[in-house]
């Protein structure tokens, strides 16, 4: 009897606060992780809705639904919201939930900062989204916001956009500092660096990338702010500035940014594939070195986005070689996943389905990346739908499928219930077919000469655009199913065991499901 009373009292002291203050004031890594994930999914739906507007306008040639001004706002906001609102916060959410559980730490190293870095995000996006209702409209210069289109010629809301980017940057940097501090200081005794789970490794490297490049982004938007409001001419040729400088600074941030959006997914996939192959990851050490090599090389390739800008030929060659080089460690990762599956004992629950699709489709995106790296060929591909196809093949099946795979993999741990496998498989197959239908024809459109960021197109592009739009509607509407699956799983379902998957390995599976509000108050021993 007294024992029961005791646990009860403990629950009371250490359990979550009730009501809204639980969420506003929480410093618990699990609560903050959940908030990041929910926020990210909301942004995914918002950014996805904008993609539906884009695809609806492009369903047929001619202007039907929106005007070019608004179309440009949609592409810009879609890109910004997906990159900064959907993908990055989802990975921070996964890191919050899983890094402490994986390294045997009781929480993140800096819990109050953790709360703040989350709550900054809704503020930033409130500002960004509010620009849609401002006079002159939302930012309309593409998510790459090249000057002088975004400075001298930008809409009045550009200053709000800059402010929003600053806040997002602060949030990301704080999140990254927290991850690094947690990983370097709070590992369970015995967990040496080379024993860390892959997800922890990839997030550690991602966090360093974030700290390195988010200030560069802050710098470039600050220079814009000065040009717009304080009469400087960083990017204005008439005042002695240089519009090309903008692109160099932007892409010095932008290329590492694309790896920020994929490395944590690499990590998660490196857990999921071994778990459902019931076999160890083929080459742990080479996977770690490959991620390190990718991260370092990612600082040396930025001008491959600028092959048509007129970089001198020597520079052009340097960036082409460096970009080709980055394919080598990326290949090593793919080969490792395949070697892990080879002669395993495979089952295909939803996390594995998403993980296998990740490997296949990300590799296709990697192939088109290799093609884009060939500088002379890039003169034809650049700024066409071929590029749109390429980056959606790395972002949708890469980042997004990676996130879905992780979510299904760890949902039993988070909620204590197994999700509905049939619905999850339906979600997978509809997403898989929809995604390929939406994005594969974009390769053809690009090769046939359709530029990106246009609201209307010549008639020879009509057929594939229609196919692509149908695929996009299919993919988009399917995502509501995910919401349903998660809500169902939170509400109930088959009880999940501590180790929810037969082949899963790692400290997170040693705590009960659902993971109690406080875990690892005494550190576990890692041998």
């Amino acid at each position: 009897m007294s024992a029961v009373a005791d646990t009860h009292a403990q629950d009371h002291h250490h359990g979550p606060a009730s009501g809204i203050s639980r969420w506003l004031l929480t410093t618990n890594h699990k609560d903050i992780g959940s908030m990041y994930l929910m926020f990210s999914f909301a942004m995914f739906l918002l950014g996805g809705t904008m993609a539906m507007v884009i695809r609806a306008e492009l369903f047929q040639p001619g202007l039907q639904i929106v005007q070019p001004e608004f179309f440009n706002q949609m592409t810009t906001m879609h890109g910004l919201i997906m990159v900064f609102g959907a993908v990055m916060p989802a990975f921070v959410g996964l890191a919050n939930w899983m890094v402490p559980l994986m390294i045997g730490a009781p929480d993140m190293a800096l819990p109050r900062m953790n709360n703040w870095s989350f709550w900054l995000l809704p503020c930033a996006f409130l500002i960004l989204v509010s620009t849609l209702f401002m006079e002159g409209g939302a930012p309309n210069f593409g998510w790459t916001f090249y000057a002088p289109l975004s400075t001298t010629y930008g809409p009045p809301s550009t200053t709000f956009f800059i402010f929003a980017i600053h806040i997002m940057g602060v949030s990301s940097i704080m999140g990254a500092i927290n991850v690094i501090a947690t990983i370097l200081n709070m590992r369970a005794p015995g967990m040496t660096l080379m024993k860390m789970p892959m997800f922890v490794w990839t997030w550690l490297i991602t966090a360093f990338l974030l700290i390195a490049v988010m200030p560069v982004l802050a710098g470039v938007v600050t220079m814009m702010l000065m040009d717009i409001n304080f009469g400087t001419s960083f990017f204005n040729a008439a005042g002695g500035g240089d519009p090309v400088l903008f692109q160099h600074v932007f892409w010095f941030f932008g290329h590492p940014e694309v790896y920020i959006m994929i490395l944590p997914a690499f990590g998660a996939i490196s857990h999921i594939i071994p778990a459902f192959s019931r076999k160890r990851l083929f080459g742990y050490a080479s996977m770690v070195y490959a991620v390190g090599a990718i991260a370092l090389l990612s600082f040396l390739v930025w001008a491959h986005h600028m092959f048509t800008v007129g970089v001198p030929v020597a520079g052009q060659l340097f960036f082409m070689y460096a970009t080709l080089l980055i394919a080598v460690p990326t290949g090593v990762k793919v080969f490792n996943w395949v070697a892990t599956m080879f002669r395993g004992s495979l089952t295909f629950e939803a996390p594995m389905l998403f993980a296998v699709a990740f490997v296949i489709l990300f590799t296709i995106g990697g192939f088109s990346g290799l093609m884009l790296a060939i500088a002379p060929a890039d003169f034809q591909y650049h700024d066409t739908y071929f590029v749109v196809a390429h980056f959606h093949y790395v972002l949708v099946p890469g980042a997004i499928f990676g996130i879905f795979a992780s979510a299904y993999f760890w949902l039993p741990k988070w909620t204590g219930h197994m999700y509905d496998e049939t619905l999850a498989k339906t979600h997978f197959w509809l997403s898989f077919v929809g995604m390929n239908l939406a994005f594969f024809p974009m390769h053809f459109l690009g090769l046939a000469g359709m530029p990106r960021r246009i609201p209307d197109y010549a008639l020879q592009f009509a057929d594939f655009n229609m196919v692509s739009s149908i695929g996009a509607f299919m993919f988009g509407s399917t995502q509501l199913l995910f919401l349903l699956i998660v809500v169902k799983c939170v509400r109930g379902g088959e009880k999940a065991a501590a180790k929810a998957w037969e082949g899963a390995e790692g400290l997170e599976w040693t705590v009960p499901s659902p993971a109690p509000y406080h875990t690892f108050s005494t550190p576990p021993e890692v041998k």
């Binding site: 047929q60 040639p61 001619g62 070019p68 001004e69 002159g136 309309n140 210069f141 090249y146 010629y153 192959s277 080459g283 050490a285 048509t308 007129g310 030929v313 052009q316 082409m320 070689y321 080709l324 394919a327 080598v328 090593v332 080969f335 395949v338 599956m341 080879f342 002669r343 395993g344 004992s345 495979l346 089952t347 296998v356 296949i360 590799t363 296709i364 192939f367 290799l370 060939i374 500088a375 002379p376 060929a377 003169f379 034809q380 650049h382 700024d383 390769h443 053809f444 090769l447 000469g449 530029p451 990106r452 960021r453 246009i454 609201p455 209307d456 008639l459 020879q460 009509a462 057929d463």
Partner: protein
């Protein structure tokens, strides 16, 4: 018979779905018509087949595992991991393939950058949203605007064959000559692309980029602006006509004569009616994109001119904003873009159209003097 069936099909398709009858299902890049574009095409196909080969091996092993190593088939997991030989091999083989690939890419790139010894130089300037082509050794130049009627874009009229890929004045070049393009822009960054030439280069304000081509087959080649440059980025096509040399020479002679005539227009005495008539046309090509044909603009980005303080106010202010533009806004300085006759006609038109009945006019000569005073 088959031809008839096809035609009937096309007609049916065309009636039910105007867009579809002309569309096609092209899936690959086309080789184009220049040495450069053919080199690029070869590189594109080489790297494509390399990717296919790697894909067959990697996906082959993967699908084999998916097929044969399923738990439901009774597969027991093996326990191998880390094999130095395999890992060294799958690092070095791709590296070697990439080095082999880099060699032809390097040669092609160096060739693309060789803009020396050109026969003809054309300066290409990007404007929001049109191209200006200046034949710098020949003393003439002109603008090239989209010529697809707005009714086609807004679905009030059937779309033509070259929908969105047609212009009023195409660039004209002679076949068999090395043509050098000097690219720059007047406002934001644009990018000049003709897929069939394998030429795409950014036009950047304040900078001059170079590119070149040599076309051997006469023909009309179409492309588009490929750098987001604002609202009408999708509506500034590039059209180049490659013609035999004699035809080119006579075209140049014509253009030079026309340019001379334009200069004479400034000296001529103009009546109000002549100015209004010319003004309406010139306004439609140069100003209507922003201020709209009926002068209503698209506030707040583009002010209405109908009843605007400047258009019905002091004429010097009106001349000033049209000739010098308004720095820092989309209102460009048209003084350098339009000739005096057009400037005078447009200003007169704006002051007397859409109910702006100011009643005054300005002559090309007065514009000429105004520009010289500055």
């Amino acid at each position: 018979m088959r031809v008839h069936a096809q035609r009937a099909g096309a007609l049916l398709g065309g009636l039910s779905f105007p867009a579809l009858s002309l569309a096609d299902w092209t899936v690959n890049m086309t080789p184009g018509v220049t040495g450069t574009s053919n080199d690029i095409f070869d590189l594109h196909m080489t790297i494509f087949w390399i990717c296919v080969a790697i894909g067959v091996v990697v996906f082959g092993i993967m699908f084999w595992s998916i097929f044969a190593h399923r738990k439901s088939q009774g597969a027991k997991p093996a326990n191998f991991h880390e094999n130095t030989l395999v890992e060294v091999l799958w690092t070095t083989i791709p590296l070697v393939i990439l080095v082999i690939m880099a060699i032809p890419a390097t040669t092609t790139l160096i060739d693309m950058y060789d803009t020396t010894e050109s026969d003809i130089d054309i300066k290409v300037t990007g404007y929001q949203w049109k191209w200006q082509y200046e034949y710098i050794n020949e003393d003439f130049g002109y603008f090239s605007n989209l010529s697809t009627p707005s009714d086609q874009i807004r679905n009030r009229q059937a779309k033509g064959e070259n929908y969105l890929l047609e212009v009023d004045n195409p660039m004209v070049i002679p076949v068999g000559k090395k043509v050098r393009f000097l690219l720059t822009a007047n406002d934001v960054i644009h990018s000049w692309w003709v897929p069939d030439f394998g030429v795409k280069k950014d036009a950047i304000p304040g900078f001059i980029n170079e590119a070149w081509t040599r076309v051997d087959e006469p023909g009309t080649y179409r492309g588009q602006c490929t750098e987001l440059c604002g609202k009408d980025h999708g509506f500034m096509p590039v059209v180049v006509k490659a013609v035999p040399e004699e035809e080119y020479n006579s075209w140049v002679a014509e253009q030079r004569a026309a340019a001379e005539k334009e200069r004479e227009l400034t000296q001529k005495d103009w009546t109000m009616e002549e100015l209004m008539e010319r003004g309406e046309q010139a306004y439609a090509t140069a100003c209507a994109a922003c201020h709209q044909a009926d002068g209503s603009g698209a506030p707040p980005a583009f002010p209405a001119l109908k009843g605007s303080a400047i258009a019905v106010g002091d004429i010097t202010d009106h001349i000033d904003i049209v000739v010098n533009g308004k720095p820092g806004t989309a209102m460009q300085a048209f003084g350098g873009q339009l000739n005096e006759a057009d400037l005078a006609a447009i200003i007169t038109y704006e002051r007397n159209a859409w109910g702006n009945n100011v009643g005054d006019m300005v002559t090309p000569k007065e514009i000429f003097d105004y520009k010289n005073e500055q």
